[in-house]
Amino acid sequence: MKRLVIYLMSGAETPELAEAAVEGGADLIELGFPFSDPLADGPVIRRAAERALAAGMRTAACLECLAAVRERVDVPLVPMTYASLLEAYGYERFADDARAAGAARLIVADLPAGERPDLHRVQLVAPTSTDERLRLAVEHTDGWLYLVTLTGTTGARDRLSPELAGLVSRARAVTGLPLYAGFGISTPEQARAAAELADGIVVGSRAIEVAEAGPRALRDYVASLRAAIDAAVPAIIG
């Protein structure tokens, strides 16, 4: 079965939202730990980070949020953040405390494979990654590989990136690990098309926008994604 990953920003309402997302069919929750200068993020997540920081969601509060989410849902939880937070908190200490608070793995958007190899984390690969970079990422990744579907920042796009198919095909050639595709996936149609290629999909920006209307809206939206990816027919790609 294809996996559905939903990204939420840490905040007071996040445990309730995470519960709604899981009710709607999310298999994994990515939890944003906000950073002041998120280079990989488009406007929606950047603004969500600004709001979270203004509301006091610093590292300790995010870890508490993670633990609170852990109490409400039993799917894997994966903090997603930027290196500056780990730099300040201590890389090892961050990994330890996140795990203690219930994190299954970590994602750090500005730590490409090769940088800080001591920190075990999910590696991201992109359409621009060379085959050599793909192999390095596979060698170092934790559990699955995050395929950035497009060349750019997070955020909804009009259509699924045409670059995803080629990236999946190149990644399959070097690993049997699960491949989860994210960035630019927002509609059920895009979710289904991406799920026909990859083993899972990640939805962030659109989930954050929908979550502003409350848990019920988020649950319904996630359910629509769930139905779409469950209807996906695996594509045969060469």
């Binding site: 950073f35 002041s36 200068d37 280079l39 990989a40 488009g42 950047r46 603004r47 600004e50 920081l53 610093r58 590292t59 300790a60 930027y82 290196a83 500056s84 937070l85 780990l86 730099e87 300040a88 908190y89 958007a109 500005d110 730590l111 490409p112 494979a113 090769g114 940088e115 800080r116 190899p117 590696q123 991201l124 690969v125 992109a126 359409p127 621009t128 990654s129 060379t130 970079r133 990422a137 950035v148 060349t151 750019g152 920042t153």
Partner: protein
């Protein structure tokens, strides 16, 4: 393996999408940086287009009792040292086959230099600039537009250089296959700090030869202002292997070396103005080119090793030095090097070389309005 390290600083802290382009850039630079046609073409442009070498001017009335020499980057075409770097990277971009140049700018000096190079080479140019900086550096916005560049206002966060840099990186992230990111200072991911330092080294090598010719000896002190730190690293490179004190002067409200902590911003680990959680703080300076909470990783390394020393100067002292240089020497400096000028009075050294990194035309409205 981490690459591009200066001690514990530097590195390549960017999304994976950019890594292949950075690798390609590092390789291209390694191929051309020695003697050869690339260097010859760059040297030719620096001489016949940019106006190098720039003079070294003794400023006796500004600093009585000292022998203060100003390295006159203010006389370079476009009015600041930024053109040294923009020309070199422009040639690299052309070599890499990139037709679109993306850049950030604070004071607008780097933006003008990039727009100039793009006009000269026939390249498309997009400059990201904070809305607050666009307001306070209006003449440079007009210059960039006149040169054919598109200036994109950045209207969130501090609306200054920090956000402009983030937006330039995001632009590059989305256009990396067709665009070249022409970074303006010795900051950012590897290989940019190394590349920019090498392209600005011309300041130090000229200044060294010129002071030896003028005085028959090396200076006791080489001093420059530090925002990202490119004019300082360029000046320092001429004297780093000599018994010469290297001093960098930051703006009081943007003193990432004097008061920073280790952190990661815009692709490199360096010394930053950040809080205890690693969130980057806002910088504040009258000089837009210094109004940045980060600094090049090599400066953080030079500070820790003790080879260079860093001080800070507040807005009021910088303004006083700005006015005094105008009245005593007939030179209107940019507000950025006015910080270094202000620190000269605190030095117990006699023979000093100071990098006058840019001219102050761009600052007149802001200064006169105060």
């Amino acid at each position: 393996m981490s690459v591009g390290l200066y001690g514990a600083y530097g590195g390549c802290y960017v999304p994976e999408t950019l890594i292949p382009a950075l690798d390609e850039l590092a390789m291209a630079w390694d191929q051309v940086r020695g003697h050869g046609p690339f260097r010859d073409e760059l040297d030719g442009l620096l001489k016949t287009y940019a106006g190098r070498p720039t003079p070294l001017t003794l400023a006796e009335r500004f600093a009585p009792g000292k022998r203060l020499y100003l390295k006159r980057e203010d006389l370079l075409h476009t009015g600041a040292h930024k053109l040294n770097n923009a020309l070199g990277q422009g040639l690299l971009a052309r070599r890499l086959g990139k037709r679109r140049i993306v850049a950030e700018t604070g004071a607008g000096q780097h933006g003008v230099a990039v727009a100039t190079v793009c006009a000269r080479f026939g390249l498309d140019c997009v400059v990201h600039m904070g809305a607050e900086d666009m307001r306070r550096q209006r003449p440079n916005v007009e210059r960039m537009r006149l040169l054919g560049a598109e200036v994109k206002p950045v209207e969130f966060g501090t609306q200054t250089l920090k956000e402009a840099t983030s937006e330039a990186v995001r632009d590059w992230l989305a256009t990396v296959e067709s665009s070249y990111y022409l970074i303006g200072s010795c900051v950012g991911p590897h290989p940019y700090p190394k590349l920019v330092a090498a392209l600005q080294a011309v300041i130090g090598s000229e200044a060294r030869a010129q002071i030896l010719e003028a005085e028959g000896r090396l200076p006791e002190v080489a001093i420059a202002c530090v925002g990202g730190g490119s004019n300082a690293i360029g000046l320092f490179s001429g004297f780093v292997d000599d018994d010469v004190r290297l001093l960098g002067v930051e703006a009081e409200g943007a003193a990432s070396l004097v008061r920073g902590r280790p952190g990661v911003l815009h692709g490199a680990r360096s010394s930053l103005l950040a809080d205890e959680d690693g969130q980057v703080l806002d910088a504040h300076s009258l000089a837009p080119g210094l109004d940045y909470p980060g600094v090049g990783p090599e400066h953080a390394f030079l500070r820790d090793s003790g080879r260079a020393e860093y001080f800070s100067v507040d807005d009021a002292d910088a303004l006083e030095a700005f006015r005094r240089l105008a009245r005593t020497e007939g030179i209107i400096p940019a507000l950025e090097p006015a910080h270094a000028l202000a620190h000269v009075a605190n030095l117990d050294a006699e023979l000093v070389v100071l990098c006058l990194s840019g001219r102050g035309d761009k600052d007149l409205a802001e200064v006169v309005g105060l």
